[in-house]
């Protein structure tokens, strides 16, 4: 076999990785063992193979000892395979004459018995040597990169990434699920620790997105389908209709005023249901795009068909309510008598004719080379912790509700009052870590809650002058001038009680608690259980991945970590990359983080995309499958197995693999009944050698 590639001269390099490997594996012994194996000409152990001197070692040996195969036993190939391929190439060899052995992540770091770990390393090295002997010289194929970029999610992460790319002259498609971009940041009042107004710093960027010639903004839209591969993704986007044409709408909002509902009466999502909106509405004044939405569920115009559906369901007995006794609001019942809507909005729009109730969803097919996912987070649902009384006691709020409450443009115009709409709270309890660091809900720390709780404490004090109690487990303020902000709060007379609140309850123990919500908590600094009555309770809810994160992940063929956040390629060295080339992560969809970190990561993601675009092409691992024509019998077994339809059946009864479409999974190869389908880098004979190698001492 070896002869096929000429006389084989193997060089073996065992890396100590400082003490990371050498601490458990006897690298010297491994190198010595390898030295005694057939074909091995040079065998060394060295402190840091990935360092320059380490790589030079390889290069020089190749020239000096005429090596034509290289085995490097070090860390995971996912980390340094590329490094050592380059080193091999620098020595004048084809980089695919190098093979790596993972003796760190999968040996020294997971084992404790020195002898066993060393034996394992030797076995793996032996197998690699036998394998490398058979390896073929290969060339990477180049795939061109489409310069257009898709950014999914229009929060601060998506906005910043989109603008960065657009400013670099690349065309960006920004797709946002909601009716407006801005995400959670648009809901915030002030931002910690500087307390500058979120809107003031965000809305200019939002308008910039709208105005930018290189950005196509599709809000109120969903990505439905993603095909292709790095550099060449085909994406289908569904643009849900607003029943108002963005191109014709001038954003005058007269239609909203003109709605038959003189008073807004439907829960306003943007304000966390604290405010009301009409069926035709703009989420918030500075929304981008400035085009209102007509909400099917609440607009009268769309309720006629509903009525019909309802009646038919009645006749089918699907509905148990006796006739006449209407289960819908009297308001709807009246409408049914009165028939369809007067469509005052249409009149208001006049000859702009932007409003059209017949509009349908639009499907857009786009081609992009890279994709940035910035789909953000969802706040923890406080109802999941019943003993904190959210949804039961009216005056228990979530932090996001408070953000809207204290916001000047919020439902209460900045007036912080209880749900009764008039009482100003005199005492407020802020509970940290709701849905974070909690065995019963989410184990992780959401990173921002301590700081935003401090911020809210400050703002609430500012707005109400109330007594404010922060209940925290640990105060976590890592970040530029975060700790200083904490100190500032301490001096502002806000109370801090270290302890996990047991419950929020209305049962009265002593008259002072009458009419209040009492927080029962063990003050771990005093070592006593305390009852603290307050008027208002704020739950600092943590961050979670979106509940549809799994679907999104599958859509883009990336992985989720167990917490439901998207998984980065490497926790330290590739924090914005995914395991799917050309798809990057930005913001909280990858894990909880604050605005500065999010923006930084968005910039990084944009840079990664630019790097690909500027290179103009990406090199693909040459690991695709190929047919040995003269031996293929045209049995077609392989054809249906390829998920990418890369295999076609030729006139002359032979299968053929399209190397561009082939992703190199090798599923067809394993199935080929005559072994005439092979996979580069994972040829049958190479794998057989490796199997024999790990088991059979040479």
């Amino acid at each position: 076999m070896p002869e096929r590639n000429g006389a084989v001269r193997v060089g073996v390099y065992v890396c100590h990785c400082g003490s990371n490997i050498a601490g458990i594996v006897d690298c010297k012994e491994v190198a010595e063992y390898a030295a005694g194996l057939i074909h091995v000409v040079v065998s060394r152990d060295y402190k840091y193979m990935c360092s320059d001197p380490g790589q030079d070692l390889i290069r020089n040996d190749i020239q000096e000892h005429k090596l034509n195969r290289i085995v490097v036993a070090a860390c995971s190939p996912h980390l340094h395979e590329h490094t050592f391929r380059v080193a091999t190439a620098n020595g004048g060899l084809n980089p695919y004459y190098m093979t790596m052995v993972n003796i760190r992540e999968q040996d020294s770091w997971v084992h404790t018995d020195r002898q066993a770990a060393t034996e394992k390393a030797s076995d793996l090295v032996r197998a690699a040597i036998r394998r490398v002997v058979l390896q073929r010289p290969l060339e990477k194929a180049r795939v061109p990169i489409d310069p257009n970029v898709l950014v999914v999610g229009g929060g601060i992460a998506g906005i910043h990434a989109a603008l960065t790319l657009a400013n670099a002259g690349k065309h960006v498609y920004l797709v946002e699920r909601e009716a407006t971009i801005g995400g959670h940041m648009a809901m915030f009042d002030k931002t910690f620790p500087t307390l500058d107004c979120a809107a003031c710093i965000l809305t200019p960027k939002m308008s910039a997105v709208k105005a930018h010639p290189n950005i196509t903004l599709w809000a109120y839209s969903d990505v439905e389908k993603v095909d292709g591969y790095v550099g060449n993704y085909k994406v289908r986007v569904r643009r849900r209709t607003r029943y108002i044409r963005e191109d014709l709408c001038a954003g005058c909002q007269e239609c909203i005023e003109a709605c038959v509902y003189k008073q807004p009466k439907f829960a306003d999502e943007f304000n966390q249901g604290l405010g009301k909106r009409r069926p035709i509405y703009l989420p918030f004044p500075q929304a981008i795009p400035q085009t209102p939405v007509i909400d099917r569920d609440t607009c009268i115009e769309f309720n006629e068909p509903r009525k019909i559906r309802w009646l038919t369901s009645l006749s089918q007995g699907a509905f148990s309510a006796p006739r006449g006794q209407c289960c819908l609001s009297p308001h709807f019942a009246r409408l049914w008598k009165s028939g369809k809507c007067k469509k005052t909005c249409l009149e208001a729009c006049g000859d702009r004719h932007a409003i059209d109730f017949k509009l349908q969803d639009q499907l857009e097919e786009i081609k992009v080379g890279t994709i940035i996912l910035a789909t953000g987070f969802q706040p923890f649902d406080a109802k999941r912790i019943p003993y904190y009384g959210y949804g039961h006691y009216p005056n228990v709020y979530t932090s996001l509700e408070i953000e809207r409450l204290v916001n000047a443009s919020g439902p209460a115009a900045g007036e912080v009052v209880l749900r009764d709409g008039k009482t100003v709270p005199k005492s407020i309890g802020i509970i940290h870590c709701v849905g974070s660091r909690d065995e019963n809900t989410n184990r992780w720390c959401s990173r921002v809650c301590c700081m935003y709780s401090l911020k809210l404490a400050h703002l609430l004090k500012e707005h109400t002058g109330a007594d404010i109690f922060n209940f925290y487990i640990d105060m976590r303020t890592p970040g530029k001038s975060f700790e200083e902000f904490y100190q500032r709060l301490l001096s502002e007379g806000v109370h801090f009680i270290r302890g996990k609140v047991a419950e929020v309850t209305d049962w009265v123990f002593d008259p002072s608690e009458e009419g209040k919500l009492t927080l029962r908590v063990e003050d771990t600094l005093l070592g006593v259980v305390r009852r603290i009555p307050v008027d208002m309770v704020v739950l600092s809810v943590g961050m979670e991945g979106h509940q549809d994160a799994q679907d999104v992940r599958r859509l883009f063929n990336i992985t989720c970590s167990t917490e439901g956040f998207f998984q980065e390629r490497h926790p330290k060295l590739a924090p914005v990359n995914t395991f799917t080339d050309g798809i990057f992560l930005a913001g909280c969809c990858q894990g909880p983080k604050d605005i500065p970190d999010t923006v930084a990561q968005a910039g990084a993601a944009a840079a990664e995309a630019l790097a690909l675009i500027c290179a103009g092409y990406v090199e693909q691992e040459p690991n695709c499958a190929y047919v040995i024509e003269e031996e293929c019998s045209g049995c077609k077994t392989c054809i249906p197995l390829c998920p990418y339809s890369a295999i076609s059946f030729r006139e002359d009864n032979r299968a053929e693999v399209n190397p561009v479409l082939c992703k190199g999974c090798g599923t067809c190869v394993a199935a080929c009944p005559s072994g005439s389908l092979q996979q580069r880098m994972f040829e049958d004979d190479e794998l057989f050698e490796e199997i024999e190698g790990v088991l059979v001492h040479a």
Binding site: T112, C560, Q567, F579, C665, T667, A670, Q679, I691
Partner: protein
């Protein structure tokens, strides 16, 4: 060859340490193994991992070869159903696994020696658990050492 036989012999002499060949897919289970490493989880050193791009690449010949060459157990690790990096490779693996499992069993290799586990890139802990469990189960089953020569005495 003889080497292994000798070794097999004195392995039995001393405490039996199962030899396990593990075929891990590049995108899920191999990464889980890396993650277990970066998280410094500890598990027994009996497995020798062979990396393939996808569990769908696994030709039954590889598994048979591993047993024939003296593996006491073979572990296949792939992405969870629906999570395959190549969309469906793991299903193809699943199909072959179930048929091959019957063959292997009929040839006298106990169930516990041949396993297919779905371990995603984030399940380093699960990888550890599976490794420990597999080693223990195979240890309990004792040596297989298929390649140890069988004495042929041709008298009735």
């Amino acid at each position: 060859m003889l080497e292994t036989v000798k070794e097999a012999k004195n392995q039995e002499a001393t405490a039996f340490e199962p030899r396990i060949v593990a075929f891990f897919c590049n995108w899920c289970t191999y990464l889980a193994a890396d993650l277990a490493g970066t998280s410094r989880m500890k598990y027994p050193p009996n497995a020798r991992v062979i990396r393939v791009m996808c569990s769908g690449r696994l030709d039954p010949q590889f598994i048979l070869k591993a047993f024939a060459d003296g593996a006491d157990g073979v572990l296949i690790g792939g992405c969870h159903p629906g999570d395959c990096h190549y969309q469906e490779g793991n299903y193809k693996c699943l199909r072959r696994f179930h048929l091959l499992k019957r063959v292997v069993k009929e040839m006298g290799i106990e169930d516990g020696r041949f396993r297919l586990e779905w371990i995603s890139a984030s399940e380093g802990d699960r990888l550890r658990t599976v490794m420990i469990d597999m080693v223990e189960k195979v240890r309990a089953l004792g040596p297989l050492h298929w390649n140890a020569p069988v004495e042929e005495v041709a008298v009735s």
